[in-house]
């Protein structure tokens, strides 16, 4: 049904665009919270990519009874991504915790302002 409208490679294409958006946010935004958001967008793009790798059109969920012959999606990438999501969540939590500490020490979460504060301290 969906494949009638979209080319199957479109999933990969979309995930790469998402990845690049996340990459761009991470590299260019001075606000650290936005950097974390960019990181999450990037990770989500990768999860999307992995799940798309395992997707088989019109495939059922891979719970098969003995002797049954059905077309199923590949469960391995989805399984891997459960681990990937856990890793991503812990990185996010850790990054946010460090950002709180950074705010306590510098009074800002803007990277450019932090550089200004640091250079003032050295002078």
């Amino acid at each position: 049904m969906i494949n009638g409208i979209f080319h199957p490679n479109l999933y990969y294409f979309a995930s790469i665009i998402l990845f690049l958006i996340g990459f761009y946010i991470l590299l260019t935004h001075p606000n650290l919270i936005k950097k974390v958001i960019g990181l999450n967008v990037m990770d989500s793009a990768i999860f999307f990519f992995f799940v798309a790798v395992g997707f088989v059109s019109e495939g059922k969920s891979p719970i098969v009874e003995a002797g049954e012959e059905v077309l199923t999606v590949n469960p391995v990438p989805s399984g891997l991504m459960l681990t990937g999501i856990v890793v991503s969540v812990s990185v996010t939590a850790f990054a946010l915790a460090i950002i709180i500490k950074l705010y306590e020490h510098y009074g800002t979460i803007n990277v450019e302002e932090i550089y200004v504060v640091r250079s003032e301290k050295e002078c």
Binding site: F23, K35, F94, A95, I99
Partner: protein, 495 residues
Amino acid sequence: MLGVHPGILIVLILLISAFISPVLDQFKFKRFSLLAIIISGIIFILSILFMVRVNSLGIEYYNFGGWSPDKGIEFVFGNLEALMLLLISGMFFLVYIYNQYKIRDEINTHLRGWYFTLAFLLQASLNGMILTNDLFNMFVFIEISALTTVAIISINENRDTIFASIKYLFLTTLGSSSILFSIGLIYLITGYLNMDLAGVELIEMSGMYPAATGMAMLFMFFGLAMKSALFPLHIWLPDAYASAPIISTVIMAGIVGKAYIVVFIKVFYKVLSLNFFELTNLSEITIFLAGMAIIIGSLFAIGQTKIKRMLAYSSVAQIGYIFLGLALATESSLTGGILHIINHSVNKSLLFLTVGIIIMYAGVENIEDFSGVGKKYPFTMLLFGLGSLAMVGIPPLNGFMSKWTIIMGTLEADKPVYLVIILLSSLLNGVYYLPIIIQSFFGGSDDLTYNWEFKRLGFKIIFPMLTLAIIILLIGIFPSYPLNYINKIVINLMN
């Protein structure tokens, strides 16, 4: 001899002890450094057993849960893995012995239990990512080591460490995400996560999907270069090394960076086949970046005022040597590159250990204040001098052997420009190391009463430095044994 392979036991013991130490902390347990020494000692003995077993039985594989390699996770126990595990566990053992008295007091008392949780987890993840033969498992270990490294940088909370750790966290996570994306592409092309199977499949399939393979290679290269701090992706390194407590700096400089380079070797020689690496321009780019790293790292090091920052930039240059050896991809250069991983780990650890004593005991942190330090701490500065001469590459020391072998590699690969770069960089190394040694011994005032250094520092602090100095001399004077061993690994990798 042992029912279970020692390699499995190493990872298991470390993971279990990582979670025992905070529990002991709850019961007012105080002797964490003793616990760490005992556990890392056991790990060191196990990695010697591993080495012996590899030499007698050859490469072995272990499949977790009995799943076949194409479905489950597989560990591989080869010569390269044995060598690197011996290096890592030996280094951790020495670092934990060194972690006494004033050095230990740098970390708050109530955080010590947690510090060892992090350090054990870090060691487990480094060992795991070297041993594993499964790409996704490798990613998980890389991510654990990234988080624990950030945590050991920021264990002492102040302005500098917090800033360094957020910088490192963002950049290293960017690297991990790129690696994961690359793994996704490899899985898309081949349908395997096992390195051997994916590598074999990729040789057949890469012709059909050149764009996807090229992208996988690019992302994998970017991620691992970011983690092992190849120029220009080294920007996190000086801040992280300079601000972290000395014990974390030694762990990062001597051990963590090297493990990622071993992963680089494993991935680029097993999975993303080298022929393809040479077909794309990535090989040329890596060689060029390594050359830049060697020169620019040395130039930056000359301009530094703080000793830890200077050593950090020197690391950038040394990582350039290693990558130059790996990317030239001739037999000698790869041998030199792997030997340089060991040499740099030993030398840089020795330098940071001695600098730690100078910083913590003499209170000297700026390079200009070093004059006269050698009169108060002659033994420490003597070892510092030995380490820095080995770094410069003076003939009877180990740094000379690896640089010489890489130079042979540049001639084999017909790239004499890099020979000039290596020689020039040795000169630059001399420019920033020698003045410190000369100043410390001949500068400053003369009216000092010297009291015996062994008594003041204690045997436990002297012992690790002395051991590393002996290793430097041993590798330098008898290079044939390590060179032959590494050459065996290289011939295996090249085929």
